[in-house]
């Protein structure tokens, strides 16, 4: 048996030759072999009871899985616009220079691969990069030569970690330089937690009473969509099905969002408790924490929290002596795909397939994970739920506004003096948030990340709430020195990179939107192009299948609405009647080359 064969067989056996664990199987094979070679596809297919092409389908979907051999150390530099505005491009140049390779390449000695990746959840300490699973923050171009020299010498990504971060970041299990940057701790999430209080309280109530409590609190989904959590639990409880599941969405991929990073670091217990309460309420025995690959550095810490809960009978069989209540949680690692934050994609990914979304009739509450009733909630939502049980629905509902109860964790980044985490009551005006973050000369704020909207000073009096400015947490601040269309172009590139490609409008439309923005930025745009963007963007929004495509044109559409003068200053009436995007010299270039002579008609 070859080494590859024994590796694959051993891994497939470990996961019970279960097709639904294909994500874990290929990830483990990659960890062992450095990549998933094509020759291994058939072996994996046999070992996981599936087909060659299904294995390829999964590997080719996730950015962190690779058929190609990569370097022993993979450097993934975050290429978000926030990183780029903080000298990220100079860092990229320094990395290329030191390694002698371009983005996407591997050094000839097989030691390093250099890649770019979208948001790694470190926008408050950017530019940042992943070196294998290690996070390195606050990069400067000057540091890069020393860092690469160190890596060459030690071969160990850990060698780049200098001073450790605060709180749990400094603990043995995380041991990372990441800083929490908690600027404001509110009453719900970041202060006042005592382990086990929420779950103990829940177990004195019937599941139905827990659900009523949740509904009375008015808690809405913190991922951004804002669905009533109590109603979701009730629907899951009422849906027929032998097995039910509780899934936690820790795939925080929206650029500019890093609040779940801090909750997972400092409030993992609260989240686990919230998931356990949900399990009790809906009648589930299995929970899955879907953790994005970028947060792999938190995994050991999270496993330890789960173990502690098991030891204290807060997880496992007969929780707190309750004879009929059994519940446990496994961690499912993601592998680099923004779309997996969409709940049906997340479920696909947990089932071991590519993360294509599925149709939302039936909804996951009726047919989700393994075609069974499933409640999928955000990390922050579960944290809130545990606090609601502990402190009461009335207490929670007294904070915030009538339709947006409780507090919201905001992750503020970009052009401000104090980037970081703010736990604020819903209903706070955007202007107040900007003031607290020390943001001056603000031209625009991207509320809710690229899929949200860009607003200007005219909207700064609006409040953070589901009614007005809704956000999953991302708040990117741009000063009046920034080129807003550069931001728009970067966001469209992000959606082009992250579209799963399942449906036509999102697969193609985003590419077309991005290239027209580029054209306008080059100075080749006319007023007709603004109509084009509006119509095309509306088609993508209205016709796309899932939340990604339905929000991906927002960077274009919201700037057309709020920042029209920026566009107007760039486009010019086109009196010639010729398409400005069409360059005749470029068009005849290939033909001239083949003919071996220049065109008689079109030449310089």
């Amino acid at each position: 048996m070859s080494k590859m064969e024994s590796v694959v067989t051993e891994i497939c056996d470990r996961y019970g030759n279960d097709r639904a664990r294909l994500m874990d199987i290929v990830s483990d094979v990659q960890r062992k072999l450095g990549h998933v070679p094509r020759e291994a596809f058939e072996l994996i297919a046999q070992g996981a009871n599936t087909h060659h092409v299904e294995v390829e389908s999964v590997i080719s979907f996730y950015a962190f899985l690779s058929e190609e051999k990569k370097g022993a150390i993979v450097i993934r530099l975050c290429n978000d616009i926030i990183d780029r505005f903080h000298d990220g491009e100079a860092v990229a140049e320094a990395l290329k220079r030191e390694l002698g390779i371009g983005i996407g390449e591997t050094t000839p000695d097989g030691k390093f691969t250099l890649e770019e990746t979208p948001s790694i959840g470190m926008s408050d300490q950017s530019p940042a990069m992943m070196v294998n699973h290690e996070i390195v923050t606050n990069l400067t171009p000057e540091q890069i030569p020393g860092m690469i020299a160190k890596l060459r010498k030690t071969g160990k990504p850990q060698s780049l970690v200098g001073d450790l971060g605060d709180g749990q970041n400094a603990g043995k299990l995380i041991h990372s330089m990441v800083q929490n940057n908690i600027r404001e701790a509110g009453p719900v999430l970041l202060s006042g937690y005592k382990r086990g209080k929420g779950i103990r309280k829940a177990l004195t109530e019937t599941p139905e009473e827990v659900i009523e409590n949740m509904k009375a609190s008015g808690l809405r989904g913190r991922g951004g969509a804002g669905f009533l959590a109590g109603l979701k639990w009730q629907l899951t409880r009422q849906s027929p099905g032998k097995e039910k599941y509780v899934l936690c969405n820790a795939d925080e991929g929206e650029p500019g969002t890093f609040k779940d990073r801090v909750l997972l670091t400092e409030r993992a217990e609260l989240m686990v408790e919230g998931m356990t309460i949900a399990a009790y309420a809906i009648g589930a025995e299995t929970g899955i924490l879907y953790l994005r690959a970028e947060y792999a550095y938190l995994r050991r810490h999270l496993e330890e929290v789960l173990n502690q809960f098991r030891e204290q009978h807060l997880l496992g069989k007969r929780i707190l002596g309750h004879s009929n209540f059994h519940f446990d949680i496994r961690i499912q690692m993601g592998a680099g795909a923004y779309v997996c934050g969409e709940e049906t994609s997340l479920i696909s990914s947990c089932e071991g397939t590519r993360g294509d979304p599925t149709d939302r009739t039936p909804f996951p509450v009726a047919k989700g994970y393994m075609v069974s009733p499933t409640a999928v909630n955000n990390v922050e939502t579960y944290c809130c739920a545990a606090r609601i049980l502990d402190q009461g629905a009335g207490w929670f509902a007294s904070i915030g506004t009538e339709k947006s109860t409780g507090t919201k964790l905001l992750s503020v980044c970009g052009d401000c003096a104090l980037p970081g985490i703010y736990e604020v009551p819903f209903g706070i005006p955007l202007r107040e948030v900007l003031k607290r973050a020390g943001a001056e000369n603000v031209a625009a704020v991207q509320v809710g990340g690229p899929s949200g909207q860009m607003v200007g000073p005219a909207e700064f009096e609006q409040t953070i709430s589901y009614e007005e400015l809704s956000t999953g947490g991302s708040m990117m601040v741009f000063s009046n020195e920034r080129d807003l269309l550069e931001v728009v172009q970067a966001f469209m590139q992000f959606f082009v990179d992250e579209s799963c490609g399942y449906c036509v409008p999102c697969r193609v439309g985003n590419v077309l939107l991005k290239s027209r923005i580029e054209q306008i930025r080059r100075g080749d745009g006319s007023p007709a192009d603004l109509v084009y963007l509006q119509n095309l963007g509306t088609s993508v929004k209205r016709m796309s299948r899932c939340g990604l495509g339905q929000t991906s044109p927002n960077p274009v559409l919201s700037t057309l609405k709020h920042f029209r003068p920026v566009y107007n200053s760039l486009v010019r009436d086109n009196k010639t009647g010729l398409q400005k995007s069409f360059h005749i010299m470029q068009a005849v270039e290939d033909a001239s080359r083949i003919a071996g002579r220049r065109s008689e008609v079109f030449h310089e």
Binding site: R38, E42, H51, H52, V53, E54, E56, S57, S60, F61, A337, R354, D356, D359, T361, V496, D497, E498, S499, C500, G501, Y502, C503, V504, P505, R507, V508, G509, V511, L512, S515, N535, L536, T538, S539, R542, M543, S544, R545, S581
Partner: protein, 236 residues
């Protein structure tokens, strides 16, 4: 017996049965909703989005959305027609479609759909992507230039042939149809008699040695427009 319900499409009340999709109910009533990925013998997947209608004001793919009693549906509206036209244009520019020398011309559902919508040229710039042609199979040609990612072949192979010859690989604009073999179609158990060999709406899966057997001018959509088989139901 499935329960009878009533739905309204563009102001017209039509009967439907619970368990039917909106598209199936509309077909029975002789109301054509444009479609490309959908096929009557295959389970629907809602990927082309052409069949999007408004259900109580919200966009939904009618091929996958089940009917409910009292649903109010908009289908033939100027807004939806424009969005659909835009999607057809997108399909043309994301691939390399050369109708004038494509064997499928006249039988091609994408071409027929463009004619139905009065499209003579796409409004978007051609992307001219580099796509592979796989001629490895003795009887079948796979030309990815003309693929619209409808995944009919994926479903037909699984659902009708009991095989697993095709699957989607890659993501985003790079997404394509992969084959279940080491390298190309010749490495798979695909047979020219498979239903999957006959299901492609465009000229991506082409059978060898039977090209132009039916002359141009006498083909499916040379004489009648796409959708007319449904619209014929309205008269009966």
């Amino acid at each position: 017996m499935k329960k009878n319900v009533t739905i309204t499409i563009d102001g017209k009340e039509i009967p439907a049965k619970l368990g039917q999709t909106i598209m199936q109910a509309a077909d029975d009533a002789g109301i054509y909703i444009p479609r490309l990925c959908s096929h009557k013998d295959l389970s629907p997947i809602g990927s082309c989005r052409l069949c999007t209608v408004l259900v109580d004001g919200r966009p939904q793919a009618s091929c996958v959305k089940p009917v409910m009693d009292g649903m109010v549906i908009e289908n033939d509206t100027p807004e939806l027609l424009e969005h659909r036209r835009n999607i057809i244009d997108m399909m043309f520019v994301e691939g390399n479609h050369f109708c004038m020398f494509c064997e499928k011309s006249g039988n091609c559902e994408l071409q027929a759909m463009a004619y139905r919508f009065g499209i003579t040229a796409p409004q978007y710039p051609y992307q001219f992507p580099e796509k592979a042609v796989d001629a490895s199979h003795p009887d079948i040609l796979l030309d990815h230039n003309r693929c619209i990612m409808c995944a009919r072949c994926v479903r037909a192979s699984q659902e009708l042939d009991g095989k697993n010859v095709f699957q989607s690989i890659g993501r985003g604009f790079e997404r394509k149809i992969g084959v279940n073999g080491e390298k190309d179609l010749g490495d798979t158990d695909m047979s020219v008699d498979d239903k999957a060999a006959d299901i492609c709406p465009v000229g991506c899966i082409i059978k060898k040695r039977v090209g132009f057997k039916v002359p141009i001018g006498e083909r499916e959509y040379d004489t009648r427009r796409i959708g007319s088989f449904v619209e014929a139901n309205a008269e009966s």
